[in-house]
Symmetry: C2
């Protein structure tokens, strides 16, 4: 029995405005770790890359999604704002709704696929 297919959904609002699984996961990990660098590290991302993504997210929305206190004794911390939690919740809800709606088609695609070696 093979795994159900997973959906990776990127929403493109404009040429420089998009949100997808990477940014959503980064927000979640910042909320969990209280650190942009720590969240990025967990995702195998450089410090610079994680900061760039946060800056992109903060520039995309009317209100910042992440607030940081740079340069403190422990290198500063970061928190996901109320706007950030709202954006994350909408994205996760969108994913869930889209996956539920697409699931019958995904199952039919999967049925047309070759069985991977080792699978039964």
């Amino acid at each position: 029995m093979s795994q159900p297919p997973r959906f990776r959904i990127r929403i493109v609002f404009g040429p420089d405005a998009m949100i997808g699984p990477g940014k959503a996961e980064l927000l979640e990990r910042i909320a969990a770790t209280g650190s942009i660098a720590g969240a990025g590290r967990e995702m195998g991302m450089s410090y610079k890359r994680a900061w760039q993504l946060v800056e992109t997210l903060n520039a995309m929305f009317r209100e910042p999604l992440v607030r940081s206190t740079r340069g403190g004794a422990r290198g500063g911390g970061a928190a996901v704002t109320e706007a950030g939690r709202a954006v994350l919740a909408e994205y996760r809800a969108l994913e869930a709704q889209a996956e539920a709606a697409g699931a019958p088609h995904a199952a039919r695609l999967q049925a047309m696929m070759r069985t991977a070696p080792g699978e039964t």
Copy 2:
């Protein structure tokens, strides 16, 4: 008035088995042009890359999605098979259903976004 957001959806069936907007567009363009190289060229893709994607697609499914006649007088042609058309139709239907289901959330995300410069 800004454009409605677009969804880019990748379905991940396994570590090496996924289908998304690029493969779908390639299939469509092969059907339209009758040529793998021509389809790839239209997408700004190298000949090698287009062939690799076709080989990946053909290996993923029980039946080939693209049949090619390599090395003819005009360098060979290619056609999308019945299985290929079925896969493409399922993917496009999945996209449409997922977009419709996700649209209210995407609209709420868009409403939280900063208005881009020049937009009203």
